[in-house]
């Protein structure tokens, strides 16, 4: 159940370990685990040279100077490599989209998956910027601080998620 070469760990073991990861972030970096923030910081930073002046100086684009925000960027990118290591050691890397998409979208079309994926990414990052954090920022770090704001965002995220789940084809 805990072996690094096992494909699936108990959700409870993995969950407890993920919960412990907020500690180094808060104690050593004085920040929270929020990959959505890292994503926006990275995008704003990379696109800064080509963005018009008004966008470059928008309030949320100035997070770049904060070492905490850069911490989020490194976190975001290295998540990919952590997953790559785990998936490679168990030979569970995928080479096609998850079969769930053909089932819930009602078509195996890659275009349809591309369109819903793009729309999902768009709404997710727009919403996270508006709400000041994403699923992990509010749902984990915020709840661990008993923040009222995070509870409100979380309730709205669950409502949005369940509603979107009903729009997809049920299995």
């Amino acid at each position: 159940m805990f072996k690094s070469r096992e494909r699936a760990w108990s959700p409870y073991v993995a969950g407890v370990a993920i919960g412990l990861l907020v500690i180094p972030a808060m104690v050593l970096a004085d920040t929270v685990v929020d990959p959505s923030l890292g994503f926006s910081t990275l995008v704003n930073g990379l696109l800064a040279p080509v963005l018009p002046e008004t966008l470059r100086t928008a309030p949320s684009a100035t997070l770049m100077n904060d070492s905490g925000a850069w911490w989020q960027v490194t976190l975001l990118v290295s998540i990919l490599f952590g997953a790559l290591i785990s998936a490679s050691t168990t030979h569970s890397r995928h080479n096609a989209p998850s079969p769930i998409w053909a089932k819930v979208l009602g078509t195996p079309s890659l275009r349809m998956r591309a369109a819903t994926g793009f729309a999902g990414g768009f709404l997710m990052l727009l919403g996270a910027s508006l709400a000041g954090g994403g699923l992990m920022g509010h749902g984990l770090s915020g709840m661990a601080q008993l923040a009222a704001d995070s509870t409100i965002v979380l309730a709205a995220m669950v409502a949005g998620g369940l509603t979107a789940g009903r729009l997809l084809r049920r299995l």
Partner: protein
């Protein structure tokens, strides 16, 4: 803190998070969509375990004076609209940004479309932010439940953790986590679809596993 230190810490923390999310299988689009359709409970089991752990850890560290809390200020309209957008987006994308990174690491190339959408969403926010300013200012400030309920943090933390633990126990009784894995540990069951008023009452045990579900070596 020095930038180099911040980057190194982020790197180690991210590697661990990516590894653990992959092991938990909660990053699989089949698990995420299944959770949002209440057919699959692995995501909520991982997440409740993580919150309960983080809650106790953060409360202990806070009592010892080792951490500063950073609750966000409450902006009711922005929180509700933003949260609804995130929830909808996570379902359509098949994961939050962290899970999308895990999906790319695990070989799901279609997750790059989500990344493109995320880039567009982030830039769009920069463009519309001036219009949304009224939603992002004012409000009652960064309140916690300890302030609102006038209760000590440790008592609230223990109460919430116990409640989460009770939920986890009930869910595991209702539906053991291995049933939700699917034959390829991706949350997709290939058997006949289960219909019914209460999807949780059905336990679609995979009849004939294709590739072995747990390839422990």
């Amino acid at each position: 803190m020095l930038l180099v230190t911040a980057l190194t810490l982020g790197l180690v923390n991210g590697l661990a998070l990516g590894f653990l999310l992959e092991k938990s299988r909660a990053f699989e689009p089949g698990m995420v969509v299944g959770q949002m359709q209440l057919r699959n409970l692995i995501l909520v089991k991982v997440w409740f375990s993580a919150i309960a752990t983080a809650l106790i850890a953060v409360t202990l560290l806070h009592e010892l004076g080792l951490v500063t809390l950073h609750p966000h200020p409450i902006h009711m309209a922005a929180d509700i609209v933003g949260g609804l957008l995130v929830g909808t987006g996570v379902t359509l994308a098949g994961g939050c940004p962290a899970m999308i990174m895990v999906q790319i690491g695990a070989g799901y190339r279609d997750a790059w479309f989500v990344v493109l959408g995320g880039v567009a969403g982030s830039v769009t926010f920069l463009a519309v932010e001036p219009l949304l300013r009224p939603l992002l200012t004012g409000g009652p400030g960064p309140l916690t439940w300890c302030d609102i309920l006038a209760l000590p943090r440790p008592a609230l933390a223990v109460a919430l953790s116990v409640a989460l633990f009770a939920c986890i126990m009930a869910m595991e009784r209702l539906r053991p986590w291995r049933l939700d894995l699917g034959p390829r540990a991706d949350g997709v069951h290939h058997g006949p679809p289960s219909h019914g008023a209460d999807p949780l009452r059905h336990h679609p045990i995979p009849a004939s596993p294709g590739p072995e579900p747990h390839r422990a070596s």
